[in-house]
Symmetry: C2
Subunit: 200 residues, 2 copies
Amino acid sequence: MTIAPEEDRLNAQIAFAVEIDKLKRVIRRNHLIDGSRRENTAEHSWYVGTLAMVFGEHAPPGTDLQRVVAMLLVHDLVEIDAGDTFIYDPVAVAAQAEVERAAADRIFGLLPGEQGASMRELWAEFEDRTTPEARFAKALDRFAPILANHLNEGGTWPLFKVTATQVKEKVRIIQEGSPTLGAYALELVELSVARGHLPE
Amino acid sequence: MTIAPEEDRLNAQIAFAVEIDKLKRVIRRNHLIDGSRRENTAEHSWYVGTLAMVFGEHAPPGTDLQRVVAMLLVHDLVEIDAGDTFIYDPVAVAAQAEVERAAADRIFGLLPGEQGASMRELWAEFEDRTTPEARFAKALDRFAPILANHLNEGGTWPLFKVTATQVKEKVRIIQEGSPTLGAYALELVELSVARGHLPE
Ligand SMILES: [Ca+2]
């Protein structure tokens, strides 16, 4: 039997859809805002994608917000193979790059050629942070855990012995994507320090 | 102190962002594809939003896919107050409408006026299913659990005594949004029946 190319495309897309369900089982260090449990990467991706709609007006004028949303929905798919990297662990962050590239090859490679390539580009754009869209997306990705930790008496900060100096480096990344959200995040960090939930 | 309107807007958006984190704690009847646990509504929303990108070419020509993605990210926010409604329980479905309207008032009402109104419109459009975007979004929302149950030896179907006749009504909704996905879903249902995972 000769399979029609269209049926091939659909089957490839189905295989991808089945594969990415696994993102729901990748567990991050961060907690939900109520502190009840750790967050998984699928619900995190929903959260930051939705935040792009909520905080869109705080992106630089001309930012393509729909591209930001799409980018955030796929930005962590590589964690299906590579797992979550704790951003305050520099050794883990460095070693992770090659593992994530291989994961991107495999996972986006499940899709029909040009479709997988364009989704992989969204992921690479997010990682490179050279466009306003990627900088805003990354800002939201960094903003969410700061908000959660702030509201959760420091949340994972004391648990992993993170200092305000380290968090402020992440705030710089937020500022580069959105000055308004960056300024707000800095306020949260300083409030958390003042409350004794984050050591200097 | 007079608060600047811009600061008011940001504070309203932050309040909304904090509120919607609760969607991660709303538990659905459906299982993950591997059957390991029930799904929460936040990760479900990520999944179907991403499926809109994956299966976009199977929407009718001219469908605004970016609107579909945005719609799917917010389509279930009312469940923060109203909970998940089991779609095979007609009494629950009917009683739910009023509860969900009140939930929409409260939750979208946290946002600045026009922003909340436009996001609420996305939710109402999804519910009404009168646009190609809403029909395609609803198709994906119905497709995902059929795929999961099919791959999971019937998943929640036997658990809740669902029959093939009932699932085929949901397949009709998929067909109305995407004939290709509808045809594929019908094949899955018939295969599940043939394998004894779904009674006629
Ligand atoms: Ca849904």
